[in-house]
Amino acid sequence: MNECLDKIIDNYLENEGNVLTILQDIEKYYGYISEDAVCRIARELDIHPSRFFGIASFYSQFHLKPRGKNIITICRGTPCHIKGSEKILGRMRMELDVSRDEETTEDQLFTLEEVNCVGACGISPVVAINGQVHGEMDINKMMREISKLRADN
């Protein structure tokens, strides 16, 4: 862990002291903003941890909790909305048994999240599964994808 933190601090010093780069690196190495990592870097650089969390909580790129093995991102852009993305989202929440505030399943297998737009509006409604964009989705297709991922595990 110390090696990672050293790299993160080096990158920060190269980038004219940009706190955001630290957070981006932590997210990259650990998959989320871990309190432990932030506190250790904060101590090292003598910057108050609140400055880090103030920034981390502002942007959607940063996650304050560990995320699941599979990330399901449902696009909630306007074209997707009018073509039924809310229905897909509602059904997925039921299927995976996650609430609006708690995005990750208990077994850490899935994280269900919303995104404002992935920019593939020509093929709405869109769902990204582990970064792979799937167009013209519906509940049936989604269910098939979920069972595939469950089987792979």
Partner: protein, 593 residues
Amino acid sequence: MRDKELIVKVCSGTGSVSAGGAEVLQAFENLGSSYGIETGFKNGCRTQKVGCRGFCSRDVLVDVILDGEKITYEGIKPDMVPRIFEEHIIQGRPVLEWVAGDEHKKFHSGQTKVVLSLCGEIDPEELDAYVAAGGYETSLKAYTQLSPEEIIEGIKRSNLRGRGGAGFPAGHKWEFARKTRSDKKYVICNGNESDPGAFADRCIMEGDPHSIIEGMMICARAIGADKGYIYVRDSYALAVKRLRRALEQCYEQGLLGKNLFDSGLDLDIRLYPAPGAFICGEATALLKVIEGKRAMPVPRMHRTAEKGLWERPTIVNNAETLANVPRIMSRGAEWFAGLGTETSGGTKVFSLTGKVKNTGLVEIPLGMTLREIIHDIGGGISNGKSFKAVQLGGPTGGCIPESFLDHQVDYESLALAGTIMGSGGMVVFDQDTCMVDTSKFFLEITQAESCGKCTPCRIGIRRMYEILDRITKGKGRLWDIELLEELGTHIRTTSLCGFGMTAPNPVLSTIRHFRDEYAVHIKDKKCPALVCKDLLSFSCIQENCTGCGMCKKVCPADAIRGIRKKPHKIDQQLCIKCGSCIDACKFGAIHIE
């Protein structure tokens, strides 16, 4: 094998990749090598990926060019490739049933491609391909033959206005930065593209990244900057990858770095993958992100062109604006100005989506009417439904009804109709769209994305959202419409930045054009478009129901009761109104009201 020239172009934008574009390209390459055709950019024969060509609803699009004769195929899947290869490429007989039809022609015939002229034509990951198409000629000219004043004069004459939404004349902005004295100046490409429903910038960044870099080079030369940032949303993975590659190629070839074109001038451009927040598209907020802070806009005491990043003169231009610059420089300011209207030159790329037949990216000269875009290029409303409204400018834009369709599209006319050009999102609604629900949807986004700095925006939008929420739940009060109007007007006039000033737009414009629909929700507790869940009830039409049990199987709430082959019933207490039963029923036996 054959000695004819052969080029196969496979669309490789995000939309196409999801439809299997990479596999299609791979299939062509594999077949090519099995037939002994050597492919590569330098050869006469090649297969190549190209950027998005706009017609995303018909992906994967493939061009086969044999001796200069181009045939476009649509809806191609990997397993269709061998037949195209065998019949068309080897035997010279195109596979007619897969050739793109009339809709494809109609979609493209009304368009004028300027910014998108290379998107879908060249390989975005090859610098050579861009150079072969005349790339970096204008930046060479800018650095070796033209003075900064001449460049700025040209951009001013072209009437190019900012494509990010506000429409500020680009030439004037550059002039402010030019005239401000400073030890350091910056040029920034804004590729945040926050608006859901807009993807023009993404396609340009993915399909023609070098045009943006060249535009930035020319801008840097004009204002005297030696540092640039390309600010791109991190969720645009493909755009980030292609821009990064394009920048690396430029550095390798000496197009960026020290002493550009032996002019003695330096330029360093870095990619800045943005951490993702709607507000980052606002220029002052964007600068805060690069400075490593929370993206909160600041009052504009100065222009960013005069005092921007780290208090230095900074040009923040939208990706589409910058991609226009090399075209203006090579074809002339007068040509560009002649394309548009008197007040705004050139073309604008719109992302035509929603309930139209042909969805995708369309580039039209400013001044075209909305009707031409939606009904001619877009092919009208899909599934035989009727047009209800079109929403322009993303979640902070407004909705326009049928009666305004003959208005021409330019900054001033759209403002008169109660909306904004924005970043070019154009979402078409049909009769099945509820305007109250749509406004609520937009406010759900804006209230969550408000940076929280100023009170009218932070609290005001939240209150408007709550009012809309109670209307859609059948708890609206008689004076709610007036209350929304009053609140909206106050937020508009008292917010700090452009976000707050435009956030009430969706509500105010839908009240203006669809007041009756709000009234029906409040007084009759009904949703005419059958969208607002709490105002609906689902029931089973006993005469139509065959008792097949499909609805029962899909119902996630176990709300459907009945014995096989006997009409079923829906338990109103348990029904969560998800609509799954309607999709499953083949006999039209589910009734909503």
